[in-house]
């Protein structure tokens, strides 16, 4: 009891946290006083040893990790629970959404998905000029950043070229805010080159948006569609992800004696334990927590059947390099054809494992494979299937090296290209790179431009100037800054050619 008192005391009196941030960390500590969902001995051991990781989601899953409400429900029918009538014009529609967001839970306590905004708002825009739209979106954007300051909060737009998408891109480049994060869904048959160019020009201005390969994602989901949330997780709309657990491929490789041992014994063994961990967390959420009695379910914003289980992996680079060493091969992951080939083989084996393993409660009865972007406490292990920080080849070679992985990771593959500042004089180069990568089969395209203040740390956005300030103990309004500062200190992330750290949750107080 002494130790926990001390920790709670520390949180309460921390000079860098706001009262809300303190309340959140206190609640996490309280949750973790409860026993962990039931696990068998082997799974517990693998979790404790760090071969498996639960991303510090907490001991008692009482809400899904990512919730993607179908906001068209509240915009067309209103909400009885929230006492809202269906909106009649754009002001009312935006107001409804602003209210709705405060009722959408997630792992961070803030909404990770704020909707496919152009599709949601277009029906309310008739008769508005571009300038009127711009003004309204600008106020909306300012509200989002100031009241829900979490970089995992994510808006989607596209694939059609339309006035709302254009206004959002214009405002986003102008304000350069951390929140919300933004994805443009690109479809070569629907999106114009002009809107893609506007999106890639925005990347040069503020390292946003992320560009999703719409036809490729669409094929992995159904008619109700998908959304991109947090740092590049593709999930069913009107559902989401119940949980995300991940397998540390580096640790699996460390426990293997050869490539054959890795592929035929250790990967299937630890891969199976990862399913057990995931299932145990799913059972708690679905069978004990009573989450699905929420008004969100009753009013049809979400559907209990549409929550997947994300099966994350990370440390591919280290795993491949360790396995290369075992065969006395010097070629490194990301640079050598043979090493890359081994990586593709591992991804294929994982996809196959996920395809054939039933998962109770999960959407379509299966988990979804995810190349996980990492968290701030990861040390000497590279996110997902990425090439280690600081050793990335040129962007074209980089894309080619990772391309064959992309089709295996249906719930997202977080990769970030870092581009030299010189690209600012030649936006066409970024456009071609993006369009070409997607045409070649990249599931998603994300880039940072060196020298931008707004950069991705593992996948979420931070301002370098905020990190600087936080490190001087002044605190930050933005939740992800603490995470970014931690990540920057522990993961060499700012070594990444232009700096990047990946990823989402700020898991616990440290």
């Amino acid at each position: 009891m002494q130790a926990i008192h001390k920790k709670l005391q520390q949180i309460v009196c921390d000079q860098t946290l706001s009262p809300q941030q303190k309340a959140r960390y206190l609640s996490l500590e309280a949750e973790n006083l409860l026993p962990y969902p039931e696990l068998d001995a082997d799974t517990s051991e693998a979790l404790a040893a760090g071969v498996l990781c639960d991303l510090v989601e907490g001991h008692a899953p009482y809400k899904p990790r990512y919730v993607l409400p179908d906001y068209s429900v509240v915009l067309t029918q209103g909400s009885e629970y929230l006492e809202l009538d269906a909106p009649k014009d754009l002001d009312e529609a935006i107001n409804c959404l602003m209210i709705a967001y405060h009722h959408v839970p997630s792992v961070t306590g803030m909404p990770v998905y704020i909707g496919h905004l152009d599709q949601l708002l277009l029906p309310f825009c008739e008769g508005l000029t571009d300038d009127q739209l711009y003004t309204k979106i600008k106020l909306f954007w300012r509200y989002l950043d100031r009241t829900l300051p979490d970089a995992f909060m994510h808006a989607n737009i596209g694939p059609q070229d339309n006035p709302v998408a254009r206004a959002i891109l214009r405002v986003d480049a102008e304000l350069k805010q951390i929140a919300p994060n933004l994805t443009f869904c690109y479809d070569p048959d629907i999106s114009s080159d002009a809107i893609l160019q506007q999106a890639t020009d925005n990347i040069i201005a503020c390292s946003k948006p992320h560009i999703a390969n719409h036809p490729m994602h669409q094929a992995a989901f159904d008619d109700r569609g998908y959304g991109i949330v947090s740092c590049y997780n593709a999930l069913p709309v009107a559902g989401g992800a119940a949980t995300l657990v991940r397998l540390n491929l580096k640790e699996v490789a460390l426990r293997s004696t050869s490539v054959t041992d890795f592929l035929t014994r250790k990967l299937p063994y630890y891969g199976d334990l990862c399913f057990r961990l995931l299932s145990s967390r799913m059972s708690y959420l679905f069978e004990k927590s009573n989450f699905f009695t929420s008004f969100l379910v009753q009013e049809g914003w979400i559907d209990r059947q549409r929550f997947t289980a994300m099966y994350g992996i990370y440390g591919m680079a280290e795993a491949v390099n360790l396995l290369q060493d075992m065969q006395q091969c010097s070629g490194r992951y990301g640079h050598d054809a043979k090493a890359n080939q081994l990586g593709y083989q591992i991804s294929e084996a994982l996809a196959e494992l996920v395809q054939r393993t039933p998962v109770k409660h999960a959407w379509r009865g299966r988990a979804m494979l995810h190349s996980q972007a990492g968290i701030s406490s990861d040390v000497e292990v590279t996110p997902g299937v990425r090439i280690p920080y600081g050793s990335e080849p040129d962007p074209v070679t980089h894309i080619q090296a990772l391309l064959p992985h992309h089709h295996y990771y249906a719930s997202g593959i977080s990769e970030i290209l870092t581009l030299e500042e010189t690209i600012k004089n030649n936006p066409q180069a970024l456009f071609t790179l993006c369009k070409g990568a997607l045409a070649a089969g990249f599931r998603e395209f994300t880039a940072n431009v060196d020298s931008n203040d707004l950069v991705r740390v593992t996948g979420y956005m931070v301002r370098l100037s905020d990190i600087e300030q936080y490190n001087q103990q002044q605190g930050s309004r933005i939740n992800t800054t603490a995470l970014g500062a931690e990540a920057a200190a522990s993961t060499n992330i700012l070594d990444r050619k232009p700096r990047v750290v990946s990823h989402e949750l700020s898991p616990s107080y440290s």
């Binding site: 040129d394 070679t397 080619q400 581009l419 010189t422 004089n425």
Partner: protein
């Protein structure tokens, strides 16, 4: 089968500074100028296989085979120790590449490219290869959309340009100095042919960009800037002019003592050019 071969010092799959969009850049070895300000001096010389660089390589990537230096890219760590060991500005890592090999590389990456630029050294010393390569690109249905550019110092004679231009989409031409004596001092050559090339390329509508390296104390003199303005005005004020800033990166010899060009130095000249009605002046995105 196309037998043309090139001596290549380096090939990049990605460049956003060698013409419009993203370009594959092939740096050809050898140059007919000898600029003190060169930031790629090891592309100037042609290897005579003296072997001096072999013991300098810490990764055993270089060996002498039958009197010739041989390079093993698998072992190379790109530390550039060999370049520093060479007294004639040559490069033991140079590779011979055929037209087919370059085409294969382009085919692999064509979705992510806007074009190809042949640079150097001085690319046009291997004009025959360039002509064959560009012709082959334009004959290939998958590669035809790629624009074919040359980055040149302008020393090539007009008849050779005439043979190249039908398959060339654009040229990035360097003007080292407008004053004949200054040009001689900076490059070891007169600028007479450079200016001829400039006019010829302009008339053929193949001059994509005129590049001017600002070296404080040399090419930023009022008389030089004035001459540059007049030259561009004579070509047309829509001519694209890129001002590059002299930096020490890569430079060897006495030019390392010369002052570098700051953002302010460049902005002053850019301002003068714009004031004289020159519409498209590009300045560096970064100063390093």
């Amino acid at each position: 089968m196309n037998s043309a071969q090139a001596t290549v010092s380096k090939i990049l799959n990605y460049s956003c500074v060698d013409g419009p969009g993203n370009r594959l850049v092939v740096f050809l070895q050898g140059c007919n100028f000898n600029c003190s300000s060169c930031h790629n001096p090891h592309t100037i010389g042609i290897c005579n296989h003296c072997g001096d660089c072999v013991p300098a390589c810490p990764h055993k990537a270089l060996t002498v085979l039958e009197g010739k230096v041989s390079f093993d890219p698998q072992q190379c760590d790109q530390c550039d120790a060999c370049l520093r060991a060479c007294s004639i500005n040559a490069n033991p890592m140079v590779q011979t590449m055929s037209v087919e090999a370059v085409l294969a590389r382009l085919t692999e990456h064509h979705l992510m490219l806007d074009g190809i630029t042949l640079s150097g050294g001085e690319a046009t010393l291997q004009a025959h290869f360039i002509g064959q390569l560009f012709k082959a690109i334009k004959a290939d249905a998958r590669l035809r959309h790629l624009s074919c550019f040359i980055d040149s110092n302008g020393q090539l004679g007009s008849s050779a340009w005439q043979r190249l231009l039908p398959v060339t989409d654009g040229v990035l031409l360097d003007i080292k100095a407008l004053d004949a004596d200054l040009h001689q001092t900076l490059t070891g050559r007169s600028n007479q042919r450079v200016l001829q090339s400039l006019r010829l390329l302009h008339q053929a509508d193949k001059l994509h960009e005129l590049r001017y390296l600002v070296i404080p104390g040399f090419t930023d003199r009022p008389s030089e800037v004035h001459a540059l303005v007049e030259l561009v005005q004579s070509l047309g004020t829509a001519t694209q002019v890129r001002l590059n800033a002299f930096q020490h990166h890569g430079v060897i010899g006495p030019a390392r003592e010369w002052p570098t060009a700051s953002k302010n130095d460049i902005e002053i000249i850019a301002g003068q050019l714009r004031q004289q009605g020159i519409e498209r002046v590009i300045t560096p995105a970064v100063y390093i």
